[in-house]
């Protein structure tokens, strides 16, 4: 019998909202017991003194680039980065080549995920065929094949009628529609937030209104249809107001924020460092503060990384030419812990639940996202005292497009356990 006893750690219990010393006994990929003190003579004992035992993280938004753009990342490198960063499951966005717009691509991704045997990949299918925004993809068939959600991520479904049908049609299997809220007629050739600062810098603006217009329409369609809507990468204060009102009105909506929108604002662009070029763009300091407040208040449900790997030759270029996005999977948790928890701006339970339990619930993942008897044995050990350097050796992702490259962060993920299997780092 393969039993493991994790002894002496401090368990982050997101269900009871407490952080306390406890032992965790694991058998056959499931949690058998979580008690203040467990003795199990037949179990392999793993000493967890000085470590936080944290539920395995779930990323609702990552770009693993396979199939089609394996020079940036593939399912192997992406899930290595994920497991290294404490993630046990990652939703892969469908803007691949070919796009994940039918069951065969969904099944391919799941097969590759199984082969790699690291963090589990949860495929997100497109909403429309070819991600073109015109005709619905085979949503139910993809769902049956294992797609956990649908999104045309990278593009908003500009056609209101098509978006309405998507939200309506997926109701019979309780599907989840993820909106990339961006009215692209307002962001054409845009590079940065539209503001006095970026106007001065000569960077073409993408106004907040491009996001709020899209969110408002999608909320109205969710109201009309009763469909389940999730808003990706919310970036502005005004967007939060819309989501807050929709939630109060009982519309079925959830929302996510990225680590970069919580940590950085547009003032980072003054050096034209393309590592800060993201979509939606970094906005004002006021927006950044509002996003953190919205996370605390539960208006925003989830921290999702929007992990967007790019090859060096693509990102090391003039600002206009560089693609949007930065990587996160390897180090999102330690960086957020240091920047938000250590500084006292967010409590540990809140940070963890936004990255584990809440995404599990939205995605309908059973027995995942908490350390609890009967749950899947998926959690990780976090040492808040050890410093790590985010360098080429540390990063398991194929890409290293991050403004934090070569920065040091206090907090190391010692190992990640996924369904009872331990991955030491």
């Amino acid at each position: 019998m393969n039993r493991k006893l994790f002894k002496g750690g401090t368990v982050v219990d997101v269900l009871r909202r407490k952080v306390s010393k406890a032992d965790v006994l694991v058998e056959e990929g499931f949690i058998l017991a979580v008690e203040p003190s467990i003795d199990a003579s037949d179990a392999e004992v793993i000493n967890c003194d000085g470590l936080f035992i944290v539920p395995g993280l779930i990323d609702m938004h990552a770009h693993l680039r396979e199939p089609g753009e394996e020079h940036k990342e593939d399912i192997g490198t992406g899930t290595s980065a994920a497991i290294h960063g404490g993630y046990v499951a990652v939703v892969s966005m469908p803007n691949t080549n070919p796009p994940c717009d039918n069951r065969s691509v969904v099944e391919y991704i799941l097969r590759r995920s199984k082969e790699e045997d690291k963090a589990e990949v949860l495929p997100c299918g497109t909403i429309t065929k070819g991600r073109k925004g015109l005709e619905l993809a085979e949503l139910s068939d993809m769902h049956e094949g294992g797609a956990v959600a649908f999104s045309d991520d990278g593009s908003w479904v500009q056609h209101s009628g098509v978006m309405r049908r998507a939200l309506e049609y997926t109701k019979f299997f309780n599907g989840l529609i993820i909106s990339h809220p961006e009215d692209s007629t307002l962001t054409h050739m845009g590079l940065a937030n539209e503001s006095a600062l970026t106007t001065k810098l000569g960077l073409r603006g993408m106004p907040v209104a491009a996001e709020t217009i899209a969110i408002f329409r999608d909320l109205e369609l969710a109201r009309l249809t009763g469909g389940r809507l999730h808003i990706a990468h919310v970036s502005s204060k005004d967007s939060i107001e819309l989501i807050k009102r929709a939630k109060e009105a009982g519309i079925k909506v959830t929302a996510e924020v990225t680590p970069h929108h919580l940590l950085f604002d547009e003032t980072k662009l003054v050096d034209y460092d393309s590592n800060y070029k993201v979509n939606p763009p970094l906005r004002s300091a006021e927006d950044r503060e509002a996003l953190l407040d919205a996370l605390k208040e539960g208006i925003i449900d989830v921290i999702a990384t929007d992990h967007a790997p790019h090859a060096d030759f693509e990102k090391m270029d003039e600002f206009n030419a560089a693609p949007f996005g930065m990587i996160w999977l390897d180090f999102a948790f330690p960086v957020l812990y240091q920047s938000l928890v250590t500084s006292g701006r967010l409590d540990l339970i809140k940070l963890v639940e936004n990255m584990s339990l809440k995404p599990a619930k939205i995605l309908g993942l059973e027995k995942l996202g908490a350390i609890e008897k009967g749950y899947r044995a998926s959690f990780f050990a976090f040492n808040p005292e050890t410093e790590v350097k985010i360098d080429r050796e540390f990063i398991k992702s194929r890409a290293y497009n991050t403004p934090l490259y070569n920065f040091k962060v206090k907090g190391k993920i010692e190992w990640t356990l996924k369904d009872g299997k331990i991955y030491r780092h």
Partner: protein, 312 residues
């Protein structure tokens, strides 16, 4: 005053102090004396290598920099989009690093992307001189504009300058705003609201959408080129309507002060942003700007190319 600037690159006038701008303007005045000599060449930068990297078409700026370098006896090399490996897809950074490996002392960079010279400056020890980056800055243009104004009016402090046109996309406007404000001039911007967003107010300038009003009491009226591409993006309805409401026309200039001078960074769309016959009737400094351009660029090359020879 010690005529020295202690920075590696000239990326924009936003970064410079008033003192640094004054050093450049004063140095340019001595350089202009060289241009009036029968032998227009001095050995100041002999043995130095200046690389022109122009990734956007340019007549005035490129020839002006090239001539400035040659007047100072520097060796010059040009890399442009056409006929270089850039056409084969070589990246901007690789282009720089390869030329840099041939031991250049200064790179003159013109690029369609804002921030491109800033990006390159981090990767070379050589001086990087911004010759116009996207819609951001064009520092030597603003410096030559200021030199021209100083020549004409004796000082820049207190001058009332109107800049008219596509401010949003103009690197000339931004550099002039930064430079003129630092030198104590009053700057007013005018143009259609689509091309002159209110964000510019934060730069400490006045914004005016009524040109008839704006031209009154100004010492300098600077028109900017209106690009026809802006039509396609619906920034304004037609060339005809642009000229009617925002063009510097003969009729309109009757409201301006008799002493007001006309400037334009070129190339001019005659009859759109500026009436051609105006330059016969009014004092235009457009060609003085061009002459001063060479002097300013000589000064910039002299001050930013370090090494003992440059400071002898």
């Amino acid at each position: 005053m010690e005529m020295q600037i202690k920075r590696k690159d000239l990326l924009g006038l936003e970064d410079l102090t008033r003192e640094e701008i004054e050093i450049i303007l004063n140095t340019a005045k001595s350089m202009r004396e060289i241009l009036d000599r029968p032998i227009k060449k001095v050995p100041t930068l002999k043995g130095k290598t200046v690389v022109n990297m122009f990734f956007e078409p340019s007549t005035r700026t490129q020839s002006s920099f090239d001539l400035a370098a040659k007047r100072l006896s520097a060796d010059t090399v040009s890399v442009s989009t056409k006929g270089s490996a850039v056409q084969k897809g070589e990246s901007l950074l690789d282009t720089l690093l390869n030329i840099d490996a041939m031991k250049a002392d200064a790179f003159i960079v013109r690029h369609w992307a804002s921030g491109a010279p800033h990006f390159l400056a981090k990767h070379t020890e050589a001086a990087v001189i911004n010759a116009g980056d996207g819609t951001h800055e064009h520092p030597t243009q603003a410096l030559l504009d200021m030199l021209t104004m100083e020549d004409r009016f004796g000082k820049i402090e207190g001058l009332r300058v109107l800049i008219v046109g596509d401010i949003l996309h103009s690197r000339v406007a931004r550099s002039n705003i930064f430079g003129l404000k630092k030198m104590g001039a009053h700057v007013t911007l005018a143009g259609p609201p689509t091309l002159l967003p209110e964000y510019f107010k934060e730069l400490g300038v006045e914004i005016c959408y009524d040109i008839d009003e704006a031209v009154k009491d100004k010492d300098v009226i600077m028109a900017l080129r209106i690009q026809k591409e802006r039509l396609e993006e619906a920034y304004f309805p037609s060339i005809r309507e642009y000229r009617k409401y925002f063009g510097i026309t003969r009729e309109r200039l009757k409201r301006a002060s008799k002493n007001a001078v006309i400037m334009h960074p070129g190339p001019v769309n005659w009859g759109v942003e500026l009436d051609f016959d105006l330059i016969q009737e009014r004092e235009s400094l457009i060609l003085d700007q061009v002459t001063n351009g060479v002097a300013i660029r000589m000064a910039v090359l002299y001050l930013f190319i370090r090494g003992e020879k440059a400071h002898e």
